[in-house]
């Protein structure tokens, strides 16, 4: 059990090495300002990744979060333009995200259609709804949004924690409590580890699956709201492909895509590592932007092989037992 924590340890080590490497290579890198910006710029990806962690822990996948973030942005912007308070808009969207997630979970479990396919359909539908609402970018003008972007808590040094970073940290605490301290969290780990055994042990599989996707819907809406308030606008093509960034964060964070193994905190480091690579490439200035994707791809590879090496000993035992049966 302990060696399964090794990927998380490796993630933290890589994060520290990147951080130190950046600090020694470039001036002004070792500042709380860079750290604060890192948290702010990657807040919405990490929030989406936190929800995705539950889905992946349960053995599923959700491709709809990128579209959901875009949809929340454009819907909030449109509602605010119609005189709604931004928080009221987000509240309505949270309910909607919860319901949509629950419906997806129900279809996945009741009709036995692959999560990949069901959430892919939802991804198309939500992106389509973005276009239905507006084809153009809509600015969000409201005192609350201005207050949101101005809110800052000073850190020692010249950095600060911004509102997106605070939302992200709040969601992190919520996710950790849900995953590690509640019965729901235990059930998620159980059905991700082995759905059949979990069912035989009396875990309510359907309720858990529905709950996982509903929860992810809520996290995706929160990510979308953070993104919308942070950019003060809604754009129908916003956040395309963020689902893959979120999945990559979860995987780099040491959660096994097969489900059942992983920690919520790892996702935060997975997201921060991706952000750190971008920061370093921007700091350097001479590196071309395509290196971001190539380096992230390379890191994904390293982490997966590492996980494979660590868990290989565990699963080799399992497959042997299966062979004998």
């Amino acid at each position: 059990m302990k060696e399964r924590r090794l990927p998380l340890l490796a993630t933290i080590v890589v994060f520290a090495l990147l951080w130190a490497g950046g600090g020694f290579a470039y001036d002004h890198f070792f500042t709380t300002r860079v750290l604060g910006n890192l948290l702010t710029d990657n807040a919405f990806i990490i929030i989406a990744g936190l929800g995705m962690t539950f889905v992946i822990l349960s053995g599923g996948i959700d491709l709809s979060v990128g579209s959901m973030i875009g949809f929340v942005g454009i819907a909030t912007a449109s509602l605010v333009a119609h005189g709604w308070h931004p928080l009221a808009a987000v509240a309505v969207l949270l309910v909607l995200g919860f319901v949509l997630g629950a419906v997806m979970g129900w279809i996945i479990d009741a009709f036995e259609i692959q999560p990949f396919i069901v959430t892919l359909t939802a991804m198309f539908m939500l992106r389509g709804l973005c276009f239905v609402i507006s084809l153009d970018s809509i600015p969000i003008k409201h005192p609350f949004v201005t207050a949101f972007s101005d809110l800052q808590i000073a850190l020692p040094g010249d950095g600060w924690l911004s509102a997106p970073a605070l939302v992200m940290l709040t969601m992190l605490v919520l996710a950790m409590v849900l995953a590690h301290l509640t019965r729901f969290g235990a059930n998620v780990y159980a059905i991700g580890g082995d759905a059949t055994s979990a069912r035989l042990l009396g875990v309510p599989v359907r309720r858990t699956v529905v709950g996982v996707y509903a929860l992810n819907g809520v996290f995706a809406v929160m990510a979308g709201a953070t993104y919308a308030f942070y950019t003060s606008s809604g754009y129908p093509l916003a956040a395309t492909g963020v689902e893959m960034d979120a999945i990559a964060s979860v995987v780099i964070g040491g959660t096994l895509l097969t489900g059942g193994v992983g920690l919520v905190i790892g996702t935060v480091f997975g997201g921060l590592i991706q952000g750190l690579i971008q920061t370093i490439i921007i700091f350097d200035g001479s590196l071309d932007s395509w290196w971001i994707r190539i380096v992230i791809g390379g890191l994904l590879f390293v982490f997966i092989v590492l996980q494979k090496g660590i868990t290989g000993s565990v699963t080799a035992f399992g497959s042997q037992a299966e062979g004998q049966r």
């Binding site: 053995g59 692959q114 939802a122 389509g128 071309d288 971001i292 190539i294 994904l300």
Partner: protein, 369 residues
């Protein structure tokens, strides 16, 4: 081999309820009639009927709304009309989906095909600029696709990495590589040969249809006239059993991803030949999702074990005809994706064995349980 396969095998253990969790879900009913637990399915309709029925229904509904939909005429020595348009525009996804069908047959998935399209496109533009012979350009681009596919196959079969994640690596990194080959620009070129392949026509039929037909026939021959297809399906149906019967499962899987890579490269050649430029960021964007959807609409299960080449092509036609007909029938274009998603969800639900079991319980009762 991997913990995924182990756990899937466990889910199949005897005594598993039909509504098993998401992982092994629907496994026994991957092909025609999963009669093991869902009794009413036994007098099954052949699998290929459903996609054809779906396509026919869509076409008939559109035809009723807009009769001009079915008109086909010859303009400037080429066939024109909505139906031709659907097939014409569908060809890149058809090529990708054919390769995807083989990968999905091994219980795998390939998310990287969109990036492979971009890489092949960049390689092609690069060598056209070098003034290379078109035949060699094709060979090198397809070889690049093959190399990408073999890399994926190596990760999946030799390292035992889960297919979604193994191919996610190339999906993320591949576009970066294509950008690097292009030097961060969007190179344009002129090539009569590739224009002919991509947008020209032989007699009245678009040339690219011959490319798809050729690939489909070759794949059909490889899968159905050699033992390879059987090996792929047995690896997908039950990897452990396939290995125990002496099938070189790793080589079979490697080959499947190689095929998918080559198919994606060909799609890249056709798209790039048409646009005469290589846009590494956007070319083939989301084509992996369309291709996977086409395979699933064609009746292929993501749990592997079956390859349906013919119905996969019909799956592509369903997706493409939805796009075209939504535009034809005067639905505002911004509703395109929403309508598409709803129809696809409906087709998927109807095709789901569980849904059909519910339906026959409601209407049938011809077979008392």
């Amino acid at each position: 081999m991997t913990e995924q396969r182990t756990s899937e095998a466990r889910t199949e253990a005897p005594g598993t309820a039909p509504a098993s969790g998401q992982k092994g879900a629907g496994r026994p009913s991957a092909g025609q009639g999963g009669a093991s637990s869902l009794q009413p399915e036994r007098r099954g309709v052949p699998q290929f009927v459903w996609p054809i029925l779906a396509l026919a229904t869509i076409l008939v509904i559109v035809g009723l709304i807009e009769p001009a939909f079915f008109s086909i005429r010859i303009v400037e020595g080429r066939l024109y009309g909505s139906l031709i348009d659907i097939v014409y525009r569908g060809t890149p996804i058809m090529l990708i989906a054919l390769g995807m069908a083989v990968v999905i047959g091994t219980r795998g998935i390939d998310l990287s095909v969109g990036s492979v399209v971009a890489i092949a496109s960049a390689v092609m533009a690069h060598y056209i600029h070098e003034g290379m012979n078109p035949g060699l350009v094709i060979a090198i681009s397809v070889a690049a696709g093959l190399a990408c596919g073999l890399w994926n196959g190596f990760l999946v079969s030799a390292l035992g990495i889960q297919p979604i994640i193994a191919t996610l690596i190339l999906m993320v990194a591949g576009r970066g590589m294509a950008l690097m080959i292009n030097g961060g620009r969007i190179p344009t070129f002129r090539s009569d040969f590739f224009s002919f392949i991509s947008s020209g026509s032989i007699w009245v039929i678009p040339t690219r249809l011959f490319v798809v037909a050729g690939v489909a026939v070759i794949l059909w021959a490889v899968l159905r006239r050699t033992a390879y297809g059987l090996f792929v399906e047995s690896v997908g149906a039950n990897p452990s059993a396939a290995r125990l019967t002496g099938i070189a499962t790793r080589t079979v899987t490697l080959g499947a991803y190689g095929i998918a890579g080559m198919c994606a490269a060909l799609a890249g050649l056709i798209i790039t030949g048409d646009t005469r430029s290589s846009d590494a960021v956007n070319v083939g964007m989301w084509s992996e999702l369309d291709a996977i959807l086409a395979v699933v609409l064609g009746g292929g299960s993501l749990n592997g074990g079956r390859i349906y080449l013919g119905t996969t092509l019909i799956g592509v036609l369903i997706i493409q005809s939805l796009t075209t007909s939504i535009l034809m029938t005067g639905v505002p274009p911004e509703y395109n994706l929403v309508v598409k998603a709803v129809v696809i969800l409906f087709v998927l639900l109807v095709q789901a064995p569980a849904a059909r079991a519910y339906l026959s319980i409601l209407f049938g009762r011809r077979r008392a349980p």
